[in-house]
C-alpha cells in the first residue's frame, strides 16, 4: 500500500511503543495493539488495517466520507433548555457539557445533515459517542425530530447512525421521555412512506436501542458493535454467570434476528445507496467517490 504499512506489523510495533509516541500522530488499536499512523487511520475510516477493528468515528468525519465530495449542509437543531433539572453530581451538568464541547468541538451528541450520497439525496443523523457517551437527552431528541421533519419536508430517506451509552442521566425523566419523542419522529417518516435506515455502531445501548435504533425499516450494524438494552455487566450481576463469547455483539444479534445485516464501514456507503435506491424505486447508482453535486449544472 504505502510506506507506512511496514510499521503496522506487530513486531515492529512493539519496538515502537517502547519509545515516546508523538501525540496525535499514532493511535494504538485497542483490539490488537497495532500502532496506526493517523493519516492512514483516517483514510481507513478509523478501521484498524491490521485486525479490522472499527474504532469510533465522529459524525462529521463519517459524513465527510459519506456525502459526495464530502459536502453536506447541516440541519439546524432547535436548542433545548440547558440543564432543565439543575442537575449536579460531583460536577455540575453545565460544566460537563462544556467539557464535552471543548473535547469534541461539537455542540452536542448528534449531528444532522442533508446532502447527496452517490447522487441520492438523503438526510443523515449521526450520534457522537465522544460527546458524553452519545447519551440521549433533549438535544438528541430534538435532533432526531428535526431530522425526521426535514426528511419529510424534502421527501428524502433518513439514515441514522446510532452510538450511545444510553440516556443522559443528567436530564433525568426528560431523557427518558426522548424514547416516546423519537418514536413519534420515526412515525412521521413511516406515514410519509420514507425509508428509515438505522446503522447501529459501537456501542448502542439502553434507551437508545429501545426506541429509534430498533424501529428502522432496515437495521445494519458495524462489525462487532455492542448492541443491547441491558449491558453485559448488569446481566452478569443479575444472573450470576459468565456470558458467552460475542454476546450482544452485532453478529450475535444478526443470528438472533434483530438485524438485517452486518456491514464493514468501508462498504457501508455502497450498501446504503443500493438499498435506498431500490426502496425508492430509482435506477442503480453510479458508485465510487463522486464529486460534490453542482447546483443547476448547465446542460451540455
Amino acid at each position: 500500500m504505502n510506506w507506512i504499512s511496514n510499521y503496522v506489523r506487530p513486531k515492529i510495533n512493539s519496538l515502537f511503543s517502547r519509545r515516546e509516541v508523538p501525540e496525535n500522530l499514532w493511535t494504538k488499536c485497542p483490539e490488537c495493539g497495532t500502532m496506526l499512523f493517523h493519516r492512514e487511520l483516517s483514510d481507513n475510516l478509523n478501521v484498524c488495517s491490521n485486525c479490522d477493528h472499527h474504532m469510533a468515528i465522529s459524525p462529521r468525519d463519517r459524513f465527510t466520507a459519506l456525502f459526495d465530495g464530502g459536502i453536506f449542509t447541516e440541519v439546524k437543531v432547535p436548542e433545548p433548555v440547558v440543564d432543565p433539572l439543575q442537575f449536579r453530581d460531583q460536577k455540575k451538568y453545565p460544566d460537563r457539557l462544556k467539557g464535552a464541547q471543548k473535547a469534541t468541538g461539537e455542540k452536542e451528541a448528534m449531528l444532522v445533515a442533508e446532502g447527496e450520497i452517490a447522487r441520492t439525496p438523503v438526510v443523515c443523523a449521526g450520534q457522537d459517542f465522544a460527546f458524553m457517551a452519545g447519551s440521549m437527552g433533549m438535544y438528541v431528541g430534538n435532533a432526531i425530530v428535526a431530522a425526521a421533519q426535514r426528511a419529510v419536508e424534502l421527501k428524502r430517506p433518513l439514515i441514522l447512525f446510532s452510538a450511545a451509552g444510553g440516556a443522559r442521566m443528567q436530564e433525568g425523566i426528560l431523557s427518558l421521555m426522548q424514547m416516546p419523542r423519537t418514536t413519534v419522529a420515526v412515525q412521521m417518516l413511516k406515514e410519509a412512506n420514507l425509508p428509515y435506515i438505522v446503522v447501529l455502531t459501537h456501542p448502542t445501548t439502553g434507551g437508545v436501542t429501545a426506541s429509534y435504533a430498533m424501529l428502522g425499516d432496515v437495521h445494519i450494524a458495524e462489525p462487532n458493535a455492542l448492541i443491547c438494552f441491558a449491558g453485559p455487566r448488569v446481566i452478569e450481576q443479575t444472573i450470576r454467570e459468565k456470558l458467552p463469547e460475542g454476546f450482544q455483539r452485532a453478529e450475535y444479534l444478526l443470528d438472533h434476528g434483530m438485524l438485517d445485516r452486518v456491514t464493514h464501514r468501508k462498504e457501508m456507503k455502497d450498501e446504503l445507496v443500493t438499498i435506498l435506491r431500490m426502496l425508492t424505486n430509482q435506477p442503480p447508482a453510479v458508485k465510487g467517490d463522486l464529486p460534490a453535486p453542482v447546483e443547476e449544472a448547465p446542460a451540455s
Binding site: 449536579r88 425523566i173 431523557s175 436501542t209 430498533m214 424501529l215 441491558a230
Partner: protein, 319 residues
C-alpha cells in the same frame, strides 16, 4: 406492618400501643386505653410529620414498599369481569405483565400492568415485576385488539425496570420495548397510564406513552434507579439519596416538568397503610381522565398524544 427504615421511631410507638393493648387483653383488670390512645395520637402526629415532606429517596422506598397495593389488587377492586388474556403468540406468557379484557364502570376496556407479586412464591413467578420481551409483546397484541374494537387502554405502571437477562436480550428486549412504546403512540383509542409504584425506565415508558399520565403521590418515575445513577455518576451506590434528589423522580417534580398530568393523593402514611382507599382514589382519577377523553375521534387522540410528547421538556424546572 412492614416499617421502612425512616419509620423506625413510628414503629416503636405503634408497637408500644399494641403491646399495652395485648397486655390488657390478657389481664382484664388493667385499664390501658387512656395510655394507648395517647400513644396513638403521638404516632399519628409523627406519621403526618414524616410524610409531610418526604425526600426523593424516602419516596423511592415508599414506592417500593412490599405491602403497597399492586396491579392485581387494583384490577380486583376497580374492574369487573376481568378476563386475563395470555401470551405473545410467539414464545411465552410473561407473568410479570398482567393484561386482559375487563369492565371499568361497566364499560369494556383493556387493562395492562406490571405485577410484582406479594410473597416469595408469587414474586418469583412474577419476576418481581420485571418484564421480558414477551410481556411487552403481549401488551402490543392487546393494544392492537383494543384499537380494533375501540376499547380504551388503561395501564398500571409498577416495575423496577425491564428484566436484564440473557434470554430477554437474545429475544430482543430493546425491540419489544420500542414497539410497545410505538404501539401506545399509534392506537386510536384513549390510553391512560397510572404509575402506582415504581416507574422504572424503559420498562415503564413502554406502557406509559399515554394520552394521560397520572402518578400516585408517593410513586416515582425515573430514567434510572437512584442506586444505579449513584454508582455511575458518584461512583458510589451508597450515594442514592443524592442521586434520587438530583434525578427529580417524584410525582411533584415530574408535574412541574410537565411530564405527568395529575397527582393522585395517597392515604396518610402511604398507600400501604390503607390499600383499599388508595385504589379507590386511583379509580376516581381514571374515571376523570377517561371522561376528559370521551368523545374524541381516533385521529384526535393520536394527534394529541403525539403532540404531548413532542412538546414535552420544552421548559425546564426553572420555568
Amino acid at each position: 406492618m412492614n416499617y421502612l427504615e425512616f419509620e423506625k421511631p413510628l414503629a416503636e410507638i405503634e408497637g408500644k400501643a399494641e403491646e399495652l393493648r395485648a397486655l390488657a387483653r390478657a389481664n382484664s383488670e388493667m385499664d390501658v386505653e387512656k395510655e394507648a390512645a395517647a400513644l396513638d395520637r403521638k404516632a399519628e402526629t409523627m406519621l403526618r410529620d414524616l410524610y409531610k415532606d418526604l425526600s426523593a429517596w424516602r419516596k423511592t422506598q415508599v414506592a417500593r414498599h412490599p405491602e403497597r397495593p399492586h396491579c392485581k389488587d387494583y384490577i380486583e377492586q376497580l374492574f369487573t369481569e376481568f378476563t386475563p388474556l395470555a401470551g405473545d403468540r410467539n414464545f411465552a406468557d410473561d407473568h410479570a405483565v398482567m393484561g386482559g379484557l375487563a369492565r371499568f364502570d361497566g364499560r369494556p376496556v383493556v387493562v395492562i400492568g406490571h405485577e410484582k407479586g406479594h410473597d416469595t412464591k408469587s414474586r418469583i413467578d412474577r419476576n418481581f415485576g420485571m418484564a421480558r420481551p414477551e410481556g411487552y409483546r403481549k401488551a402490543i397484541r392487546l393494544m392492537d385488539m383494543a384499537d380494533r374494537f375501540g376499547l380504551p387502554v388503561i395501564t398500571l405502571i409498577d416495575t423496577p425496570g425491564a428484566y436484564p437477562g440473557k434470554g430477554a436480550e437474545e429475544r430482543g428486549q430493546s425491540e419489544a420495548i420500542a414497539r410497545s412504546t410505538q404501539k401506545c403512540l399509534e392506537i386510536g383509542v384513549p390510553v391512560i397510564a397510572t404509575v402506582i409504584g415504581e416507574g422504572g425506565s424503559g420498562g415503564a415508558v413502554a406502557f406509559a406513552a399515554a394520552n394521560r399520565v397520572a402518578m400516585l403521590e408517593h410513586s416515582v418515575y425515573s430514567v434510572i434507579s437512584p442506586e444505579g445513577c449513584a454508582s455511575i455518576l458518584w461512583k458510589d451506590a451508597e450515594k442514592m439519596r443524592e442521586a434520587a434528589e438530583a434525578l427529580r423522580l417524584t410525582a411533584q417534580d415530574l408535574q412541574k416538568l410537565g411530564v405527568i398530568d395529575r397527582i393522585i393523593k395517597e392515604p396518610m402514611g402511604g398507600a400501604q397503610r390503607a390499600p383499599s382507599e388508595a385504589i379507590d382514589a386511583v379509580g376516581k382519577a381514571i374515571e376523570t381522565m377517561l371522561k376528559e377523553l370521551s368523545g374524541k375521534k381516533p385521529e384526535a387522540l393520536i394527534k394529541d398524544r403525539r403532540q404531548k410528547f413532542l412538546d414535552m421538556g420544552t421548559k425546564g424546572l426553572a420555568a
